[in-house]
Assembly symmetry: C2
Homo-oligomer: 111 residues x 2
């Protein structure tokens, strides 16, 4: 059964969508970019690039990082990071609700 997914498109072609949002969530859960990347099944470099671009698009860093220390370091969401995550989930929920009858109708159109 098909499901709606959405993205926020910026003027320069950059986008924030389910992938970057899920990564932010994993980083918040696991406490580092690298473990978040592992949880997402992607390379650290890719995760770092995604986090970096998310911050660039929003005009504010979405994670605060620290290198070194007992466990090597880590990362946590900045307030801006937490906000974009919450807002994106709110948009998803609202959009899914209003789209549901249309999707149901679309499915009934054919098989």
């Amino acid at each position: 059964m098909p499901v709606l997914s959405l993205r926020i498109d910026f003027e320069d072609g950059g986008r924030i969508g389910p992938g970057k949002i899920a990564l932010l969530e994993k980083i918040a859960e696991t406490g580092s970019i690298s473990s978040g990347a592992r949880a997402m099944g992607m390379s650290y470099k890719r995760a770092w690039d995604l986090v970096d671009e998310t911050g660039r698009l929003l005009g504010a860093p979405v994670v605060e990082t620290r290198a070194g220390g007992a466990r090597g370091g880590g990362a946590q969401l900045t307030p801006a990071g937490e906000r974009v995550l919450e807002r994106f989930r709110a948009i998803e929920e609202a959009a899914a609700k209003v789209a549901e009858p249309h999707i149901d109708a679309m499915l009934k159109d054919n098989g």
Copy 2:
């Protein structure tokens, strides 16, 4: 100013989003896959592949084609093609309306 875009994700990984929908519109306007592809700035092959996959995902062809004849042939949307276009536009409109306040709030969060 960022804008919302959405896609319908199917279980097998296939998606229907703004690109395929815009292509269908161009085909309807211009009367052929190839002229629709030109209007979208893409190759005929890519346009054909997109049309084909859209039909596959929906379980019904979205264009009816004919080769040969005075103007070489052409294509027009099937009822299924017209329906998915209308429904997608309806979903977009409804989603944009409910998402707008959230996006405004997100913009106010930073710059």
